[in-house]
């Protein structure tokens, strides 16, 4: 029962092809993302002044990341004062080593886990299994995909790709008896089964939504109550935290608590929001006796000081960009091939892995429409980052040689007005054999990909360039950019510093 990563097979295109063929997946993903997205829009509107809240959220995140060494240090020292054992891990392997050392010292036979993307990132379950410590996912959706030996396909609803019949089959096998495909029965079975696991477990493993620097507290958002179980019942708690999860104070948490649940599910607040400050006090009757927090870098620091990507660290993992993304809604989370999917995954995965060749094609899984930016509660310009990733790929010479030749030819034609005009005139004549009903359908040459699902427009009979002179007379000869627009453009450009200041 490990959540071994499904090996990365083929390119994003091939993985997406699989998803496009899977009718249920596409329907389920579209239905769920639509529900979450409209919930979010409704919640944002009802709350009011959404853009002011987004801007404040962005400011808090920018400020914290710009002073991350200070706030992280403050958090670690305060948490230590609270009695927490704080650890720092540069890599996934470092984090695993620390966790395994703790589990081995406790002679742990089982660990119950609440949802944590960081532990998915480092493949913790597999490593615990290796020292005979059973790792049990306790979030309902995570438990289901653990039984299926798969990885989450959505950051908020991990089992979005499974229907109730598939789930009933998995849980029936787990139960050793036939369970009907009814949600309440299936959830009831998991409740009972996991109750025993919570009470027996030696270790509770959690993620961390926010860490509060000034008091050394950690905050968890959830709806089921499993994160509370995991952080209340077992004797030892191990929390995994991405090093960028920090906010300065509880007062700042109001902004995050306003943005996160509304953006994720449209809720005013998740059913449970828990702030945990150290292990149980001596006289307390419950809570962990020993508490560890493992702070992980694993590629995050590569974004620091990079004006194009530093804002990536502002992400609060709400999933709103997935729900808004037209590409995600078609291909689902697994097509992205990494721990994080959707627009954030398309940028974060190559960023964390320093854009290793394997991830090159993931930046192309976007139409650059900017819906992700519009949805983002902390205004991360994900679509700009995708363009930067593509540019870096080309600069590093990892583009397709055919494409490069094509672009060079395209540049040659577009760069010279005379050549361009002649090419158009030539095309006007040449296209005659291909045009049907005003469009080109033939899947040939550079039109192959486009025409697979669409019809390319033909070149107009009367070219714009041929009409330009008469149009100019009509407009009264104004061809200069309005100075007010030019000034706004310049102002916008100068503001793009990627959060290096603050």
């Amino acid at each position: 029962m490990s959540t071994q990563p499904t090996a990365l097979k083929g390119s994003v295109k091939e993985r997406a092809q699989l998803a496009l063929n899977n009718d249920f997946l596409r329907k389920a993903v579209r239905f769920t993302t639509e529900r979450l997205r409209s919930g979010k829009l409704k919640a944002a509107e009802e709350h009011g002044n959404w853009d002011e809240w987004r801007e404040r959220g962005r400011q808090i995140r920018l400020h914290t990341i710009a002073h991350l060494d200070y706030y992280l240090g403050e958090f670690a020292n305060n948490a230590r004062e609270n009695g927490v054992h704080v650890h720092f891990a540069d890599t996934a392997q470092d984090a695993i080593n620390i966790a395994i050392k703790i589990a081995a010292a406790k002679n742990a036979k089982s660990a119950v886990k609440s949802k944590s993307m960081v532990t998915e990132e480092i493949h913790l379950n597999h490593e615990l299994q290796a020292i005979d410590c059973e790792a049990i996912e306790t979030d309902l959706g995570e438990y289901i995909i653990q039984l299926a030996n798969e990885t989450p396909s959505h950051i908020i609803i991990p089992a979005i790709h499974k229907n109730r019949f598939q789930i009933a089959e998995l849980l029936s096998k787990d139960a050793g008896e036939e369970l009907p495909p009814e949600t309440s029965v299936l959830a009831g079975y998991v409740r009972k089964k996991l109750r025993e696991k919570f009470l027996q477990a030696d270790i509770g493993v959690t993620g961390c939504n926010f860490a509060i620097a000034e008091t050394g507290s950690m905050v968890l958002f959830e709806n089921e109550g499993n994160a509370r179980m995991v952080s209340t019942v077992p004797k030892t708690q191990i929390t995994f935290m991405g090093m960028e999860r920090i906010i300065p104070s509880w007062t700042d948490l109001e902004v995050m608590a306003t943005l996160l649940p509304r953006s994720a599910t449209g809720q005013k607040l998740t059913v449970y929001m828990s702030g945990i400050t150290g292990p149980k006090r001596t006289t307390d009757g419950d809570g962990p006796e020993e508490m560890h927090i493992i702070i992980l870098d694993n590629g995050r620091s590569l974004q620091l000081g990079d004006p194009e990507f530093q804002e990536l660290l502002n992400c609060i993992r709400c999933g709103a960009c997935l729900n808004a993304c037209p590409v995600y809604r078609h291909i689902g989370g697994h097509a992205y091939g990494g721990t994080y999917s959707g627009p954030i995954g398309a940028v974060l995965t190559p960023a964390l892995k320093k854009n290793v060749a394997e991830w090159d094609d993931i930046a192309n899984a976007s139409s650059l429409c900017g819906a992700c930016y519009e949805a983002c509660p902390v205004k991360i310009p994900l679509h700009d980052m995708l363009v930067s990733l593509r540019r870096r790929k080309v600069e590093a010479g990892r583009d397709d040689p055919m494409e490069r030749m094509g672009m060079k030819g395209f540049g040659g034609v577009m760069g010279n007005a005379k050549v361009y005009h002649n090419a158009l005139k030539l095309g006007k004549i040449g296209q005659k054999v291909l045009v049907r009903d005003g469009g080109i359908r033939a899947k040939i040459g550079p039109l192959k990909g486009w025409n697979a699902y669409r019809v390319a427009p033909s070149i107009s009979k009367k070219l714009f360039r041929e009409r330009y002179n008469s149009l100019k007379t009509e407009l009264g000869g104004t061809t200069k950019l309005d100075p007010a627009i030019a000034a706004r453009l310049e102002q916008w450009r100068s503001k793009q510093d990627g959060g290096a200041s603050h």
């Binding site: 404040r56 959706g141 109730r164 008091t215 952080s231 059913v271 449970y272 929001m273 702030g275 009757g285």
Partner: protein, 245 residues
């Protein structure tokens, strides 16, 4: 064994402290500057300024709390006195044939007199006996009764602070949760509660601070809403007008 463990933890901590310096220096150098050691200046803190003006009167707060808590699937009841709140709980316990009730060990809840009113079933108070296995008592309880430290109208949330006599399990493991809310502890916004934690400061914070906004829920199976997945499936918030009477 315990000594061994302490020794081992001490070694881990020493390693971590050395690592911390290296880790934080690495961050500073990536940010292309020296380490920041003074608290950074901030032009802002918390919610946008206009949010400070938003304030409801008592009736509006109670209304909004009720609306939000019920929209999340909880129940909100009003009681003039603790005696009235007590009868509500007794009635629920009888109706559901509860066998085990667990309450926090606080004076207000003692004054509910559940032990006397429900003398035929087990009513226990959290952590009043060190020998008892309290997590097991919470796990078997049909009803958990807690006193809320605050309630937030705008999000429809209860706030529960842990202590020796206020176990976290009491609001988590029982099937049904009853939270007694003194009318005076209902506030408008989340920030009003959160800022008190900044004021209390690190040394005075409890180990567990829990905001509860309705029954445990999940939509993980085909988006079908399921109530009571891990935490209590039924949650009653009983607002008591006069907690002293």
């Amino acid at each position: 064994m315990s000594n061994n463990n302490d020794q081992w933890l001490k070694e881990l901590d020493e390693q971590a402290k050395a690592k911390q310096e290296q880790f934080l220096n690495g961050i500073a150098s990536k940010l292309k500057r020296s380490r920041v050691t003074e608290k950074p200046q901030r032009p802002f803190r918390g919610a946008p300024d206009f949010w400070g003006q938003f304030q409801l009167n008592v009736d509006e707060k109670l209304d909004m709390f009720k609306r939000n808590f019920e929209a999340a699937g909880g129940y909100v009841l009003r009681a003039a006195t603790l005696q009235e709140a007590s009868s509500i709980i007794v009635e629920k316990a009888n109706e559901l044939q509860a066998k085990y009730i667990l309450r926090q060990d606080v004076a207000e809840l003692e004054r509910l007199g559940l032990e006397q009113a429900l003398s035929s079933i087990s009513v226990r108070s959290w952590n009043d006996d060190e020998q008892e296995d309290w997590k097991a008592r919470a796990a078997e309880a049909d009803i958990g009764v807690v006193l809320a430290d605050y309630a937030v109208a705008y999000t429809g949330s209860l706030t529960l602070l842990s202590s020796k006599s206020k176990g976290r399990s009491v609001s988590l493991l029982p099937t049904l949760l009853v939270a007694i809310i003194p009318k005076s502890s209902v506030v408008t916004k989340l920030g009003e509660v959160l800022s008190t934690f900044d004021e209390m400061g690190r040394e005075n914070l409890p180990a567990g601070i829990h905001f509860v906004s309705g029954p445990s829920r999940s939509a993980d199976i085909e988006n079908d809403l399921t109530i009571g997945v891990h935490g209590p499936g039924i949650v009653y918030a009983v607002i008591v007008d006069d907690i002293e009477s």
